[in-house]
Symmetry: C2
Subunit: 331 residues, 2 copies
């Protein structure tokens, strides 16, 4: 299997290389690309990979191409790759909501993959974590509404986001004046910032719209009421979410707990809590604090946490490839 990773030096791209190595996929040729010319190197296990500038020509020979770069790069290169039959796994948001394009989280909707599919967008990281947590509930009791307030890590905005947080903290610790934020709308050190992406006319942010729209698509519940407030917090890695939801049919905490216990990709904490620092590096979505909001058996709350670079992006991308191989749809 000849594999290319475009955007290989970024936070998600370098994690894709790491997950490919961890999961020991049978790769005969692996190449690292940057969307623009780039003088860096990428790592694959002990090997250093030269990073080449992406071009239509350079990407021509690969069976599988991961995109973990700008929205532009995927827009530019994906159509031709798909047309000639390559498997494209794309972390950009370009194609996620396109009719006929599946939006796959293997534990949630792996059965939506068809042999003719070649393009696999990887959903928004916050939405992947949310849907992995909600899938067992949808299956057990249906879902009428979901409200989610997020606690999103700085590295969700890439290396630049994490660097901006750490630079602000360092300045504060040394009593120096903080650099002006450019990635986040406000300094993130000792702060929380209720904006992830720009706002549309309705007052929702791009991130919040992605969470709502992609959740409906992944859970295959086009009428689901979803509302989100997306907030950046001074955490390095792993997104947390406070979720309030209404089921379609009466159920109980005990029945949902049983569903979680056998759910793939979920670690269920029946007691106590789980925090992003504990989840950093995990490929699972962690669910805790499941509880009933009322006695009617239909209103509940939970807390979920997932490493947004792994399950929210790179791990999910590689799991899609594993799923295709298991089904015989990829080499």
């Amino acid at each position: 299997m000849k594999v290319a990773v475009v955007g290989a030096t970024g936070a998600v791209g370098s994690m894709i290389l790491r997950v490919l190595e961890e999961r020991r996929l049978p790769i005969s040729r692996l190449a690292a690309f940057a969307s623009r010319s780039h003088n860096g190197a990428a790592r694959f296990g002990d090997r250093e990979l030269a990073v080449q500038a992406a071009s239509e020509d350079a990407l021509r020979d690969f069976d599988v191409v991961f995109f973990a770069s700008s929205e532009d790069a995927s827009e530019k290169y994906v159509p031709a790759l798909v047309a000639r039959g390559a498997v494209v796994i794309d972390n950009s948001s370009n194609f996620r909501l396109r009719e006929g394009v599946p939006l796959i989280v293997p534990e949630v909707n792996g059965d939506a993959v068809r042999p003719e599919h070649r393009l696999f967008p990887v959903a928004n990281c916050t939405a992947i974590v949310l849907c992995t947590a909600l899938r067992p509930i949808r299956d057990a009791a249906g879902l009428n509404s979901v409200r989610v307030a997020t606690y999103q890590a700085a590295s969700g905005a890439g290396r630049a986001g994490l660097d901006e947080l750490l630079a602000g903290e360092r300045a504060a610790a040394l009593g120096e004046s903080e650099p002006e934020p450019s990635v986040f709308g406000r300094p993130l050190a000792h702060n929380v910032v209720p904006q992830v992406g720009s706002f549309d006319a309705s007052g929702y942010s791009i991130e919040e719209r992605k969470v709502c729209d992609e959740t409906r698509k992944m859970l295959d519940l086009p009428e689901l009421f979803v509302s989100a407030t997306a907030v950046r917090v001074p955490v390095r890695t792993a997104h947390s979410e406070a979720v309030f939801f209404e089921t379609a049919r009466p159920t109980s905490v005990a029945r949902m707990a049983a569903a979680f216990a056998s759910a793939p990709g979920v670690v269920f904490h029946a007691e106590g809590i789980v925090t992003p620092r504990e989840v950093e590096g995990s490929d699972d979505v962690h669910v805790a604090r499941l509880r009933a909001e009322s006695d009617d058996g239909r209103h509940f709350a939970l807390w979920c946490v997932g490493d947004q670079l792994r399950k929210g992006a790179a791990t999910n991308a590689v799991q899609i490839l594993e799923l295709l191989r298991a089904k015989g749809y990829a080499p």
Copy 2:
């Protein structure tokens, strides 16, 4: 007016002294107490106040006694003080839900004060911020349900909470091993901790129960559906809240915005965002990101932030005294 502050060296007590000084109340005698013997000093403007150990005897001569100390101290001293007619303004949670005891946020329910009232609990800080933000909405369109996910500052757990956060951050910055957390259930540096207080059998934390119960009482909506997820974040001061709510009657963002514009104690941000670092030191509750969740005119979301040491505790306590004086119920 002879005024005593019990717990004068703590985070809330020292802030009460500061707010008393800022707002220039006519105080003829001011004394600082600690619930146990204490060798510190408290500040009132330029003056240093000796801190005495509280006792029934020592508190006997005061017209107004603020409690900003342990639950124990207020439980021990409040009944006798109230019995002899002193005004007691108590930041503990002991008496907040007691029948016949008002739970006052002047901008929310100042009219609930009666001449015979002597005991004034100060509500939970998170609930004060929430109710100040929700009052204009309740008045404009009623309220059926409220769900809130919180982003609570370390200093909400007192000086020890803030110190624990800063010590953890310092250790991380120096590459030293972090001290074991004792105030919070997990290290708070670069983390968020979805637990504020212990959990009851239903799975809700004490803090979450306070928010639910006290919100119903302050808004005078005993049947209001309220659910909360309380989360500690690595912020120094000011609590933020992502609120999802359903009104009883159809309304609009424009009508609610107009209600906020004239609401006392509220700064409404029609555009953009507001973060806890900007609100630290403010006596107002800041509301932003008001938006409709659906087209039915009844489902909305907003973001609110308040300095929990000021409006969430000390300022509200002093405002209660100002209200009593304005009504002629206090000297």
